[in-house]
Symmetry: C2
Subunit: 335 residues, 2 copies
């Protein structure tokens, strides 16, 4: 039997909240076992949604507040709003060991700053990194940092490699993930000094908990030959968004191609099941849930614009990081 776990949930962040958050919880609660949800937000909005989506009340606890961090708040302004916002309270709940992970679909900068104010960094880690799931030919890999740190030194990139491989172990039950550095070529001499020095350091570390596979280029991210791809937050953010933009462009061109004639429409209809499978495989909701690594408790960020299904997937990421014992795996890796 699975041991009971508790997830703290900021119900008020992101588009169309708390509706998508509560519906997301209802989806997750249907297939999960022994998961309790501590929900932070406006009870007058949340209560009717709990009824609407028929959530088992034994599984939830609501903590009322009518103060929220807004999407447009700067991180500083959000922190200054104080300790009564749904975001702050949900993180504080984690800090006080009353939950095992926290998730929010709200303001990313505010989540980072308030999490850093409340939680401790894991010993020997200087900077937290944002790590995301990325589809590839064989399933999924992890890419980090996706934007938490614009400038990184080699110590940071080594830390990201160790934390990323720990996360991969926690999520996918794989004991020796393959780790690579994102670079502009595969030869040892390519790249900037930070990347080259990181390569040297990762080559020297003898850690049985991951395998270092050198450099990968941008076109190899989705090939699936490695499990964890490490880069600085500037490059990672641009790679992620370029991939999103490319996917959007291609899918819209495809839609145009398949519907710009009667014959096209008919044959697409015939093929609708296959096209649906194709669309599902690329559905960004399946990859929702980025993990902020480096703090001594699991902090998960859902995409602000996702829907209930996407939010339920990011709750699933929370559950996996807890059951996969993420924080201890990171500590094992950096020992």
């Amino acid at each position: 039997m699975k041991k009971p776990i508790t997830i703290a949930i900021d119900a008020m962040g992101g588009d169309n909240s708390p509706q998508k958050v509560i519906e997301g919880i209802s989806i997750h609660a249907k297939y999960s076992k022994n998961v309790n949800y501590k929900i932070f937000g406006d009870r007058s909005l949340i209560d009717p949604l709990i009824e609407k989506f028929s959530i088992n009340k034994n599984k939830i606890e609501i903590f009322h507040t009518n103060k929220f961090v807004e999407g447009k708040d700067s991180a500083l302004a959000a922190a200054k709003k104080g300790k009564d916002t749904s975001l702050w309270l949900s993180i504080e709940c984690l800090k006080n060991n009353e939950a095992d992970a926290i998730i929010s679909a709200g303001n990313t900068g505010a989540l980072f700053v308030i999490a850093k104010l409340n939680l401790k960094m894991i010993e020997n880690i200087d900077k937290p990194a944002l790590s995301g799931l990325w589809p590839n030919n064989n399933g999924m890999n992890l890419v980090l940092d996706l934007g938490a740190n614009i400038e990184c030194n080699e110590k940071n990139l080594v830390d990201f490699s160790l934390m990323g491989s720990a996360l991969y172990r926690a999520l996918f039950n794989n004991d020796t993930p393959k780790v690579a550095l994102l670079n502009v070529g595969s030869e040892e001499i390519k790249g900037n000094n930070v990347v080259k020095n990181t390569y040297q350091k990762l080559n020297e570390i003898k850690n049985p908990l991951y395998e270092f596979h050198g450099y990968v280029e941008g076109n190899e991210i989705m090939e699936g030959r490695v499990n964890v791809i490490v880069t600085d937050g500037f490059t990672g953010n641009i790679a992620l968004k370029t991939a999103e933009g490319t996917a959007k462009f291609i899918v819209s061109e495809l839609k145009l191609a398949l519907t710009n004639s009667i014959l096209g429409k008919i044959s697409s209809l015939l093929n609708s099941n296959n096209l649906k499978k194709f669309k599902n495989k690329l559905d960004p909701r399946l990859y929702n849930g980025a993990i902020l690594l480096g703090l001594d408790k699991p902090v998960i960020k859902s995409h602000g614009s996702t829907d209930a299904l996407g939010f339920s997937h990011s709750i699933q990421v929370c559950e996996k990081t807890i059951r996969g014992d993420l924080i201890n795996k990171i500590k094992e890796n950096i020992m």
Copy 2:
């Protein structure tokens, strides 16, 4: 009537050369007017191909050499091979004003180094940048630098902006291209110091020959709201290759979806015309031909693995840079 121009062509670089180069010339020669091709390479291989592809001999001149730069040569090793390689000779021909542009599908590093050894930099430009065509919702834009300079300062990025907008004017006959910097957010305070300082400088420059549109994120590259997107060579290379990898992944998933059932196969057959149009629009051969900007003559790099059609497109880029008066447009922009 178009004035006669001459393109110097290294026939020996890249996969399957000189076959693809000569066939590429034959494709280009069919629709071009008043273009002469000076072809550098092994006459014993080239002559039969000229026959095979029925190229009008009045349009070509062959310069024999049996020394070539190999794909595996380092830039230094390539330069040391001396002045008799097909690459060196074709660049020297440009240097001596016996051609108006040079193109090679060979070793990129060698092309850069030998071009820099032979040609002058345009006054006030410190570093050359590699600029490529990128498809978007409204046609094509330019992205630079795609990998010539791993580290760039703000002066370099400003130069790239000015040169990129000149190239856009030369290629697309557009007098005020919209220029943007690639960044991790659209607010002025986002990004690293180099990007932020470049933003300030571009905002201050009052140049009627382009419009500065601030920052774009990776997902906006293909939206088509701007014409020239500027970044350092590390980020640009990773963005380009990530986009290539994403496109390849999606198209292979699509193929799988459309052929994994009898019904899928039949309906794809019905839809083959539309799917062909879709495929054509994404065909990387259409975007072949990267331009090395900053030297005082046009230097064009074809993808090494492209075929004859792709090579003919990059010859077309040569022709456009010459007829569009690229070098003078750059000089106008940086005045």
